[in-house]
Symmetry: C2
Subunit: 280 residues, 2 copies
Amino acid sequence: MIKIGEFSRMVQVPVPTLRYYDQLGLLKPVEVDRSTGYRYYSASQMPRLHRILALKGLGFSLEQIAVVLDEGLTPEQMRGMLRLRHAQISQQLAEARNQLVEVEARLQQIEREDQLAAYDVILKQAEPLLVASIRTILPHHSAVGSLFGEVYEAIGAHTNVALWPNPGAGGQTLVLWYDCEFKEYDVDGAAAFMLRCPVPDRGRMRVHELPATTMASTVHHGPYNTIGDAHAAILTWIDANGYRIAGPDRELNLYHTMPIRLDDPAYVTEIQYPVEKVDQ
Amino acid sequence: MIKIGEFSRMVQVPVPTLRYYDQLGLLKPVEVDRSTGYRYYSASQMPRLHRILALKGLGFSLEQIAVVLDEGLTPEQMRGMLRLRHAQISQQLAEARNQLVEVEARLQQIEREDQLAAYDVILKQAEPLLVASIRTILPHHSAVGSLFGEVYEAIGAHTNVALWPNPGAGGQTLVLWYDCEFKEYDVDGAAAFMLRCPVPDRGRMRVHELPATTMASTVHHGPYNTIGDAHAAILTWIDANGYRIAGPDRELNLYHTMPIRLDDPAYVTEIQYPVEKVDQ
DNA sequence: TCTTGACTCTCAAGTAGCTTGAGGGTTTAT
DNA sequence: ATAAACCCTCAAGCTACTTGAGAGTCAAGA
C-alpha cells in the first residue's frame, strides 16, 4: 500500500492531479480509508496510469481516455480514434506552420522599419454574395464612384425589397477590380450594391453571385487617394505568407454617409483579395 | 452608428465575443445608450478590431493584445514579443510533429495486430539519482537478484540514514544493464539501491550519481521471465518514434515485497531507456 | 506519552476565451 | 397594436488542472 505522496513521486505526477483522476474515476486508489479518507495505491496500478499518460501524450482528452480504458474498445474503434486524431494533429501542424511564417514576416517588417506594418492583414472566409453591378473600363480608379448612381437607378422599384436596410451603417456597396496587373489608367472595374434577393438585369446593370472564397483582408481609414498603401500592404502580405491572388479584389465601403465623399479623411474601406495557398 | 448585430455581421465576429471584448476594454463601442445599454459601434473602429484579430491570429493572448494596443509598444518591445512567440510556435511545431509520428506508429501497430501494443511507452524526465551499486558480469539476467544482498550489507551501518524509508512501497531498488547490444549470457549489469545521501564505497559496492536524462519508459506487470516483451516493446517504440538509446537502461522494481520473488505473477517493474532524438 | 513536522483530507476558486441559456426590455415593420 | 427580431445583464459551463484555506492524521524522536 502506497500513500499518495509516495505514489506521486514514483510516477512523477503531482498529488492534486492524482486526486483529480480519482474524482473523475480515471484512476481510483485500490483502497480508501473510511475514517480518514487517505488514499492508498498499489504498484499494480502503474500500467493503468502509464496508459493514461501515454494517451494524454497523444493528445486525447481525459474523457476519451476514460472510454478507452473502461469500455474495452475494439481495435477498429481505436483505429478510428487514432485516425481522427491524426487528422487533427495534421491540421494543427499546418496552422502552426502558417503562424510561424506570419510571425517571421512581421519580424522582418519591423527589422526594415516598413511603414506598411501599420496595416493588419487577416484571413477570413467570405460567404457567397449576391450583387447588382456595372462593370466597365474606367479612365482611372476614382472614377468608379460615378457608377453608383446608375446602379441604384437600375435597381429602381426593387430598392426596398432587394437592398439592405439602414444605409447609415455602411457595408452595402463595394467596388471590384478585375485587372490582374496594376494599371493606373483604363482600369477594369465595377461598382456594386449587395442584394438580399435577386432583381432583373437592366441596362448595363448585371446581377450575379460572387463566390465564397478565402480572403486576405485589411482596413483602410482615410481619404480614398491614399488607399494605395493598403493595397501595397496586402499584396506584400500575400507574397510573404505564401499565398497567391485567386480572383478580382474588392473594396468594401464601410463608411456611413451617402453620397460618398472620396476625399473625406474619415472614409473607411475594407480591402479584400481572394487568395489560395501556394502548394508546396 | 451601428448596432452590435450589424457590426457583428460586418466583421464576422459573434455578438457575444464583441460584448466580451467590450467587457475586457479591448474594443469599447463609441457610444452606449445610458437607458437601454445598447452598444453602438462605428466603422472607424474596424482598424482596431482588425488589429485585434491579426494579433490573435498570431497566437497572442487578449491580455497581451490589450497591452500592444493601449500602451504604444516600441518596435523593440514588439520585436521581443514576436521573437518569443516565434520560439513558442517552433516548440509547438516540434511537439505536434512528435505526436504525429507517435500516432502513426500506434496506427501501424494496430494494423499488424502487434501484441506489443499492450505496453504503453511514455517519455519522462528522470532526475539525477544517487545509487549504491555493484556492477559485474552475470551469467544471465535473472542472476542479478542475488547481488542485492551484497549491496545491502555494504551499506551496513548507514542503512537507516541513506536508504529510503518504507521499503514496503517499492521503488527503492533498480537494475542497470550496460550492454549496448542484446546478450543472453555473460551480461554486464548492476544491482543498485537508491540513496538519500552518499555513503562510502565498500568492497565491490560503488556509490555514484546517475545523470538526469530523458527516458522512454514502460511498465511490466507479471513474472520477471516475461520482461523481455516489455523491452521489445520499448525498443520498437524508440525506433518507430525517431529516438536512439543514450546509455544503460534501468529496471526499477516497483513491487512491494522483500525479498523479491522473481517468479511472482504480481511482480511490477518499470523499464527505462535513456534516449535522445535522432537529428532528422 | 507527547510533540513536532511532514503528510493528508475536503472544498472552493482561479485559469483563457469564449459559448450557451435564462429572463427580460427595445425597436421596427406590419 | 402586435409580433418578430433585436438587445440587455448575469450566471454557468467548457478543459485539465493549480492554488490556497482550514483542518485532520501519521511517524519518529524525546
